[in-house]
Symmetry: C2
Subunit: 339 residues, 2 copies
């Protein structure tokens, strides 16, 4: 008889959850408000999880859920028993008695792309890290340090470099770039062109100061919202933006080198908005550099909740062959029709 | 007849003020609480200035003060008339009717080191910037962007690199370094050695996470307090700390190159705790690289308030010869006996 499993992701911008069967179908997938325990607190995250589980299981039997795997960025913060108990209680309130297993977001990304046990993940979205995976668990991590200490090559880093390049161009210590207008228009709410009027040393200092103050007045992570300006400027042929993309790609591929030898043949999985799309300027450069320096197949991550659901199936079907689990993997991670 | 002038510095950690004569003596120097208008607000800064002026002028005639020059980091924020009026009012409350002139901290540092009109300042303390000086005014600035966007090679940057190096060593993506124990002991309040006990992948992740969380729990600028750990580790022969110092020096000298041509013969003034001392690990490296790549004399900044006082003398003695002003400069900036 098919049992049910739950795969979930507790993200900063959304809580996502899928109910799957051991046969590989996914009868329900729901999305709720952001509920990352690190950014929103454990109670809020647990409440979002409970609400998502209740909605996803409407018309299904909650008691048939035999395993729950939850992907969460910063999993290490959940190691204490109190948090685990709160999440278990939240699921129990939705009728699910299986105790949740927490895995890192790099691990669910890896398992969404491949049923293989070993390989590498390069994650570059708002943050950036490379992870060595052995037996579907993280063994070594490079970067992933958050915006304050690292995340080099991430959307945050791209946005910060855009501001730095704009300020250098304004001050005459860097080459001219269309990022001056694009960044100023976004940060200073001025019409494009308006900020370019003045030229004296005093006005240069004021324009530098205005940009520095505008960045300082916002939460630092909002620099990530400027990353698309780099992508647009690169597409329009701006050489400074292209150099930023070169630099980002070089840093990201260096992270891969920290956790992967050049001859390793296991899969290398890309995830995150900066590198997922094959035609994204950084993604394109990363793929080219990886092809030059590393062996093994390069895969793009599928939906992380499908990877989490597959891990849940594995947990309750340890006797199944690798072939059978790979079949279920293919079914679970196939692009789902929109409901 | 000798007139009086005031030179002051509105710093983040202290407000400092000296009363000087046009003949080059300094009858009073006082220090008060921090009063930088950007970090503490204009009202608080003005109150500290007023209190310092009152104390310094006790026994002197406030009406004899003919000029006031005030050095302040982030001078551009003071360009609006309201702030200038508040400071003028604060001085008037101490009996000083001369309207204050505000100059940047790089400008007072330059004028403390030399009476020459043109040259370069490399400032590397909590923050970092290089400034091109023409006619004693900043014409071009490289970096000085604050910790969020730049300050590369500063004490903040050194502290951040110390944490990054410690985390890389813990995770196995970087070489071993004594910074692991030094940084962990400082950030985690653990006894040295204690943090090195465990070795499994899970415990590595927890130790990484503990350091990341400890940094995130403090104001980012407090990373600057970790800079001395790099200096100590370098002195003890740690290769990773030495590489961080190499990197800091290279970044600082690159800033100099942004604002100074290789053949320029004007003075190059060093200021800030990271580079002032000739035997500081970064200062030593910076001096060596500068000697290789640039012409001109390398000077160390004297007390900025002496530079500010000299600018005030210049303002009210425009008819004096360069020689006479240079004599007054030498007198004002000579190391003062402690009171």
């Amino acid at each position: 008889m098919d049992e049910l499993v739950i795969g979930a992701d507790l993200g900063g911008t959304s809580t996502r959850l899928t109910v799957a069967t051991t046969a590989g179908s996914r009868p329900a997938t729901v999305e709720g408000a952001g509920g990352n325990p690190t950014t929103h607190g454990v109670e809020r995250a647990a409440a979002e999880l409970s609400s998502a589980a209740r909605r996803a299981l409407s018309g299904l039997d909650p008691a048939a859920v035999a395993a729950v795997v939850i992907g969460v960025a910063g999993r290490a913060t959940l190691d204490d028993k109190r948090a685990a108990d709160i999440f278990a209680g939240a699921l129990a309130a939705a009728g699910v008695t299986a105790r949740p297993v927490f895995v890192g977001d790099a691990e669910v990304a890896f398992c969404s792309a491949t049923p293989a046990p070993d390989g590498t993940v390069l994650l570059a979205g708002t943050g950036a890290m490379a992870v060595r995976i052995r037996d579907r668990r993280t063994t070594t991590t490079s970067d992933g340090l958050g915006w304050l200490l690292g995340d080099e090559g991430s959307a945050y880093w791209l946005g910060r470099e855009a501001v730095r390049a704009a300020i250098a161009a304004i001050g005459g210590t860097g080459p001219a770039t269309t990022l001056v207008e694009a960044v100023s228009a976004r940060l200073l709410d001025t019409a494009p062109g308006e900020v370019l009027d003045e030229g004296s040393a005093g006005s240069v200092q004021r324009r530098r100061s205005a940009l520095i103050r505008a960045v300082a007045a916002r939460p630092p992570i909002q620099l990530a919202a400027l990353a698309p300006l780099v992508v647009e400027a690169e597409a329009a042929g701006d050489a400074v933006a292209a150099a930023i993309c070169d630099d980002a790609a070089a840093r990201l591929v260096r992270l891969v080198g920290d956790v992967r030898g050049p001859a390793e043949a296991d899969p290398l999985v890309l995830n995150g908005g900066v590198v997922r799309a094959q035609d994204a300027p950084v993604g394109r450069r990363v793929r080219r550099l990886i092809a030059e320096r590393f062996a093994g197949e390069v895969l793009t991550a599928a939906d992380g909740i499908a990877g989490a659901a597959w891990l849940a199936v594995r947990d309750i079907r340890p006797q199944w062959s690798g072939e059978r689990l790979a079949q279920v993997h293919a079914l679970l991670t196939a692009p789902a029709p929109r409901h």
